[in-house]
């Protein structure tokens, strides 16, 4: 809507700024942690988060949603960075952005309707598990100090909000990242710090074209990564947009969001940042902190950059344990805990789709594969269910020695055997009428099954006639939306 532009930016100024500050403070440790997951210097994730948040605030399709460097996309880059280095990651980021813009223009966001609730739950659970697994290197072969610090960090994160008055004023993940370095330097404990993990930003980002040969070989290296990043980025962004739509009871422009994510990634790649997408956790934190407008995302991005450029000396002494605590919190907050309880109560098909999605993701470390597996298994279950909607009514007329089969329901690849099974080929009669006007042939496998039946019956010396084939094969034409009238729906359900 026209009127929404001004409202999106200036409709909620005070709360948007406050929420933006909360998000910026929570975003700093996350952006650093995601850089470490991807295997690049912290500044790569921080510049990315700045660029993506600021750009998406302007061009995104969902006001109040936070986008930045994310775990989901970082996980896809690990091998690219290890084998080819940062410059190739930047190219992959830009290319992923281009693919996302193309996806936006092709209206690919509409394919989100294939992603069931079970797949979405599986996606988030898998993401939570991967984020947790990514913390394990920091927690293995370390001194007990690290465990103690991580536990202390978690205690601060979850318990600080219960402190009267200041508890709800200061974001607890920030308190964690301020208190732990103080403890460490006070007691002189030797632990790994963020400074040990690579460079932090000490200047504002500058525009840079990635230093790679622009050859076909480069393209063949980065393209598979770019495709994965583009898909996963859009998946998480559109899912997050749905979550924010639901939370705030407002609507978003999904097409614009796809294109916006693309523009944001291109922007990130050009200032030396990694690819990112919408962040489900941070977006929820933003809404919880009162953020509703584009201003909140913009404030988060700009403040994040100011914080890290001016406070990089302080940031560098933050122990990794503080970061690990934040990431465990993100993992716990992303996981859908009720889904475990629902494993018992939900239909087995739903549960297996969810579990399969999780298993494939954890196995491949690629959320896109998990989503495809989930969609595939879900579709098989759906085909199985649809094939149950097929039955036959059979009549015998003695005077003319005619057997009539009336077929009612859905004939397609998965129900064609059942369809053939309806016919008694051993019965010797003069004439057989197959009435299919209440049946629907959805694909050529269904039609082939009918052919097979007719040929087989003719071989037995029976005269076969088919009634109502025109109506029955209407569904064969890929004309969707023809069946949206009441009488059509009635017919589809077999006229029952």
């Amino acid at each position: 809507m026209l009127l929404s532009a001004k409202q999106d930016w200036l409709g909620n100024i005070r709360n948007d700024i406050l929420a933006g500050i909360v998000v910026a403070l929570a975003l700093v440790p996350e952006a650093i942690a995601f850089s470490i997951i991807a295997g690049v210097d912290p500044k790569v994730g921080l510049y990315a988060s700045f660029a993506i948040a600021v750009i998406i605030a302007i061009v995104g399709g969902r006001a109040g949603m936070i986008s930045a460097a994310t775990a989901a996309t970082a996980l896809l880059m690990v091998t690219l960075v290890k084998d080819h280095g940062l410059q190739y990651l930047l190219v992959a980021t830009i290319l992923a952005g281009v693919l996302q813009i193309v996806a936006g223009y092709l209206n690919l966001h509409k394919f989100m309707s294939f992603i069931s609730k079970s797949v979405m739950t599986g996606f988030l659970n898998a993401l939570a598990i991967l984020i947790f697994i990514a913390q394990l290197p920091e927690l293995t072969n370390v001194t007990w100090y690290v465990y103690a610090l991580t536990a202390a960090g978690l205690a601060i994160i979850y318990l600080f909000p219960y402190v009267p008055k200041i508890g709800t004023l200061l974001p607890s993940p920030l308190v964690n990242t301020v208190v732990l370095p103080l403890v460490v330097s006070f007691f002189g404990i030797e632990v790994r710090t963020i400074g040990d993990m690579g460079e932090l930003p000490d200047t504002l980002p500058i525009f840079l074209w990635p230093d790679v040969p622009l050859t076909f070989e480069t393209l063949s290296i980065v393209l598979p990564y770019s495709i994965s990043i583009a898909i996963v980025g859009l998946l998480e962004s559109l899912m997050t947009a749905n979550v924010i739509d639901e939370l705030t009871d407002t609507e978003s422009d999904k097409k614009r969001e796809c294109k916006g994510q693309g523009v944001a990634n291109i922007g990130s790649g050009l200032i030396g940042g990694m690819a990112g997408c919408a962040m489900i956790g941070q977006s929820i934190i933003n809404v919880k902190s009162g953020g509703r407008g584009r201003l909140s995302t913009m404030v988060a991005g700009i403040l994040l950059l100011i914080l890290v450029v001016f406070l990089n000396d302080i940031l560098s002494i933050v122990p990794m344990a503080a970061l690990v605590a934040v990431m465990i919190m993100v993992s716990v907050g992303t996981f859908n805990w009720t889904s475990i309880k629902e494993l018992k109560t939900n239909p087995i098909s739903a549960s297996s789709v969810m579990v399969a999605t999780v298993i494939v993701v954890v196995w491949t470390h690629n959320l896109a594969f998990g989503v495809f597996a989930g969609i595939l298994i879900g579709s098989l279950f759906m085909a199985q269910r649809l094939s149950q909607f097929l039955l036959v009514e059979s009549d015998y007329d003695e005077a003319s020695d005619t057997r009539t089969y009336q077929i009612i329901g859905q004939v397609f690849f998965n129900s064609s055997d059942k369809f053939i099974g309806f016919f008694d080929f051993k019965e010797a009669v003069d004439k057989i009428v197959i009435d299919v006007h209440r049946a629907h042939f959805w694909d050529i496998t269904g039609v082939a099954a009918l052919d097979k039946v007719v040929i087989k019956l003719r071989r037995e010396g029976t005269d076969v006639s088919i009634v109502g084939l025109n109506e029955a094969s209407e569904t064969l034409l890929d004309k969707f939306a023809v069946h949206d009238k009441p009488e059509e729906v009635e017919k589809m359900m077999g006229g029952l």
């Binding site: 009127l3 406050l18 909360v22 909000p161 974001p171 993940p173 902190s289 009720t338």
Partner: protein
């Protein structure tokens, strides 16, 4: 002209300062053009939560908890808004009935007024709005927060009440030959309203007088064909100034004009003629998009 015969006259009622006058004009229009009257109250959710927390941490099942909290809060807000709206709309309905409007619909809808107008516009023949709503009460020249948006979204004629009700006698049509003003001319010619004891003035302000005179002649022939007598006046000068001067000297009650023929961006940079007219004039308006 996409006008439906005897489509609804719709008016937004929000209980603001101008609400009474808006309702009076809507009643007058409905009776004059014997069209049914629809009273609409929109329930606008703020979608802003009062219970914000800046903990910034992610707790287990945070989304589910937050959704519960927010929907509870909005449910209470909505219930109150609906109840308040019921009072407002009942008052308006009683008044319209007392004034003798028989064909009357009173409805509440969720969402903003422009959104509602967009959804309902196919059934409407005219929309009656106040030049300002709650947000600008007491401001002398302020235009309503949603007025321009409302005007831009709907393709139907809009009556804008700027001041208290006075039975209209003189109507002025500002004609500049633009496509929207041409539409306005057709509306004038086709609506039953303008054929009944109203004095119709047509003014045209152009760079040179002969252009203006040509436009007046065009209008004359269209209106005369429709059986409407008019007083024409061709003028030159600064349009807003000249027209508002004409309004005051001739005691015009309603100004009819085409509106916002340029995009929003153009208006942002160059200022919109329509907006300026709305601010500077003291008459009521009928705007045609």
């Amino acid at each position: 002209m996409t006008m439906t015969k005897n489509g609804l006259i719709l008016t937004g009622v929000d209980g603001s300062e101008l609400s009474d006058s808006v309702l009076d004009y809507a009643i007058w229009l409905s009776k004059k053009s014997s069209a049914p009257l629809k009273l609409l109250h929109t329930i606008e959710h703020s979608h802003h939560s009062e219970q914000v927390g800046h903990e910034g941490n992610l707790t287990p099942n945070i989304k589910e908890h937050l959704l519960d909290e927010l929907s509870d809060e909005e449910r209470l807000e909505s219930k109150k808004l609906i109840a308040d709206g019921k009072q407002i709309i009942k008052g308006a309905k009683d008044k319209a009935e007392a004034a003798g409007v028989t064909d009357l619909i009173a409805k509440q809808r969720h969402g903003s007024l422009p959104e509602a107008l967009l959804d309902l516009q196919s059934q409407l023949s005219m929309v009656v709005l106040g030049s300002k709503g709650h947000d600008h009460e007491g401001q002398l020249h302020g235009l309503g927060a949603q007025l321009e948006d409302a005007i831009r979204v709907i393709k139907k004629p809009i009556f804008i009440a700027k001041s208290g009700f006075k039975t209209p006698e003189k109507v002025m049509f500002a004609y500049n030959g633009s496509p929207t003003s041409h539409k306005a001319l057709n509306l004038l010619a086709s609506m039953a309203l303008f054929k009944q004891d109203l004095e119709i003035h047509v003014v045209s302000v152009q760079k040179n007088l002969s252009d203006a005179q040509n436009l007046i002649e065009d209008a004359q022939s269209v209106l005369n064909d429709a059986g409407i007598d008019m007083i024409g006046q061709a003028m030159t000068g600064e349009a807003v100034e000249v027209i508002t001067h004409y309004q005051t000297t001739h005691g015009i009650d309603i100004t009819v004009m085409g509106a916002f023929s340029h995009g929003k961006l153009h208006g942002f940079f160059f200022g919109s003629f329509t907006t300026q007219m709305l601010i500077e004039s003291n008459t009521q308006f009928i705007l045609v998009r």
